[in-house]
Assembly symmetry: C2
C-alpha cells in the first residue's frame, strides 16, 4: 500500500468537545477546561506534511527534550509517554485560490473523501515544548493514514444532520444543511504478549462538534488557499463515555489509571513492540462500508 | 520574479530573544516574559506552505474572528491590526530521511541558502485564535519571501562565531564552531502620501539567539524529515534597541505609541495602500552582497 496522494499541506483541527474538555481539565481544572474561543471557532494548527506515512509503516519512538515538573533543567532521551490519537481526516479536491474564501455551503464540493488517521504523539515532549506556539516535535515525527479514500458520495447513506450548536456560530460558519456521518470507529492495541488485538477505544465520527464544512470554511475565510490532496484532520475523536476516549492521555488520565489488558498486562502509555490499529466502518442494512485500517508498530528509539 | 523553489514545508522559529521578550512582556509582564523552555530549545511551529508568495505580490487584508477583551462574543470583519514581521529564512538542500536526525555539525551541509521574509500577521485574529495550539489564520493568508537565494558559500566572509549561550545548550544543540552572519536588515514603510520609503526597523541577523544549525538539528532530532526546498524561518529579528524592533506590535507597543512618519502621518498598524519593504545586505570592504528585497502593498479586505 502507498499513500493515497502526495500530501502538500496538513492541518489538524481540535474539534471533539470531549477531547478538548478532558485535556483542558487535566491542565487547568474543570472550570477553565475549554479556552474561550473553543465554541466560537474550530481551533486548528498546521502539522507536518512530510512525515505523513501510510498504514503499515512502523513508527520509531522519538527522542527529544523533556522536563520533569520539579527539575531545574530539561534532559534529552527517548519519549516516555508515547501516545496514539484516533482521528479521521479528509483530502481536498479542487481547492481554492489565494484570497478567495470558500463559502460554507460550497465546502463539500472541495472535499474528495475521508481516511482514518493516527496522529502519534509524544506527550512529555509536547508538555515541555508547546508554549506559546503549539505542538511541534511531539507530533511531526510521524502521522499515519489509511490508504483508501472513501468519497462523500459513498458516505451519503450515513449522513446525519449536524446537531444544534450553542452558541449559534457566526454566519460564515452556519451552513444550510450542515451534516456529519455515522461512522463507527475503534482503536485496538496488540502487545507482543497478547494473542488478539484488544479494543481500547470505541467512538463515532458524530462525536465531533464542528463539521467538516465548518472546518473548511473557517480555514479559507481569511483567503488561505487549499490545494488538491491537502489533508485536514479532525483532532482526537473522543465521546462522553470512558470507553470512547481516543488516546492514552485520556484513557489513563495522564497515566494515573493504567489500562488493564486481558492477559494481566497494564499500560500507562504505548510501549515498544505494541501495535496500534484504528478501524472504521459504516453499518448499513445488510452491508458495511469499510475504511480499512491504519496500523503501525512502535520501534524502540534509535 | 517567481518563487525560488516550490516550498514543500514551512517552519517558523521564534529565535530572537528581544522579540520573544518584548511580546512576552506585553502579554504576561516582564517577570514572566520568556516561557521556561525558551533558552533551552529553539521554539518553532509549522506554518502554511501553500501561501508562501514571492516579493512584489500585493497582500489582501484578511478577515476573521476577533474579540475585544470586554466583549461577550466575537465579531467577524477585516483585521484591524495588520502587521509585518522582519525575518530571514533558509532553504533546505539535501535534507534527511524520516527517522534519521541531522547532527548539528552536519547541519550546514543541508542548508542551501538564505532569503528575506515578511511573515504578515493579523494581531487581532492571532490574539483570539492562538490558544492553545498556536497561530493559524492570523498568518496563513500570506508569507512573502525574496526571489534570490544567497548561498552559505557567498556569506562566508561575513560569518561570525555564535556568542556564548547561557545556560549551555544540551549536547545535541552544541556545535563545534557554531556561527551566525553579519547581515544588515531594514524595514521600510511607504504610505500613499509619503514621497520616499521611511526606514522603521534597523536590525541585524546577529540578533538571533539560536543559530541556523541549532534550528536544523533541533527540527530533526526526533527523526522529522526535511525535504529539498523546505523553508525554515527565523522568527521576527528584533534587537535590544527600539529602532531594531522588527514588527509594528513591538514598535508601537501594541498600538500604545504610534509611529510618527516624516510627513506627520502616524501608524499604529499597517493601513490599506501601505507598502512594506525589507532589504538586507552584507557590507564588505568596498563591496556589498545584497539580498534584494521582499516587498508588498496592502490591498483592502474584499
Amino acid at each position: 500500500m502507498k499513500l493515497p496522494a502526495r500530501i502538500g499541506n496538513y492541518t489538524d483541527f481540535y474539534s471533539s468537545y470531549h477531547h478538548a474538555h478532558n485535556v483542558g481539565t487535566m491542565l487547568r481544572g474543570p472550570e477553565n477546561a475549554l479556552m474561550p474561543n473553543w465554541k466560537w471557532l474550530p481551533v486548528a494548527y498546521h502539522g507536518r506534511a512530510s512525515s505523513v506515512v501510510v498504514s503499515g509503516m512502523d513508527v520509531r519512538r522519538p527522542s527529544g527534550q523533556t522536563k520533569a515538573p520539579d527539575a531545574t533543567a530539561p534532559t534529552f532521551g527517548p519519549s516516555k509517554s508515547f501516545d496514539y490519537e484516533l482521528e479521521m481526516a479528509f483530502l481536498i479536491g479542487p481547492g481554492n485560490s489565494l484570497g478567495e474564501p470558500v463559502p460554507i455551503d460550497c465546502a463539500a464540493d472541495h472535499i474528495f473523501g475521508l481516511v482514518l488517521m493516527n496522529d502519534w504523539s509524544a506527550r512529555d515532549i509536547q508538555a515541555w515544548e508547546y508554549q506559546p506556539l503549539g505542538p511541534f516535535l511531539a507530533k511531526n515525527f510521524a502521522t499515519s493514514i489509511s490508504p483508501w479514500v472513501v468519497t462523500l458520495e459513498a458516505l451519503e447513506p450515513f449522513r446525519k444532520p449536524l446537531p444544534p450548536q450553542d452558541p449559534d456560530p457566526l454566519p460564515y460558519l452556519r451552513g444550510k444543511n450542515d451534516f456529519t456521518f455515522d461512522i463507527q470507529l475503534e482503536a485496538q492495541l496488540q502487545t507482543s504478549s497478547l494473542h488478539t488485538p484488544h479494543v481500547i477505544t470505541r467512538t463515532n465520527f458524530q462525536n465531533l462538534y464542528w463539521s467538516i464544512s465548518q472546518q473548511l470554511a473557517h480555514h479559507t475565510v481569511n483567503g488561505c488557499n487549499l490545494e488538491p490532496a491537502d489533508l485536514l484532520a479532525s483532532g482526537t475523536i473522543s465521546g462522553a463515555t470512558e470507553e470512547s476516549r481516543g488516546c492514552m492521555l485520556e484513557l489513563t488520565w495522564r497515566g494515573a489509571n493504567p489500562l488493564k489488558l486481558p492477559n494481566g498486562e497494564t499500560r500507562k502509555w504505548l510501549e515498544d513492540g505494541d501495535r496500534l490499529t484504528i478501524i472504521g466502518w459504516c453499518q448499513g442494512d445488510g452491508y458495511r462500508i469499510g475504511f480499512g485500517e491504519v496500523t503501525g508498530s512502535i520501534l524502540p528509539a534509535s
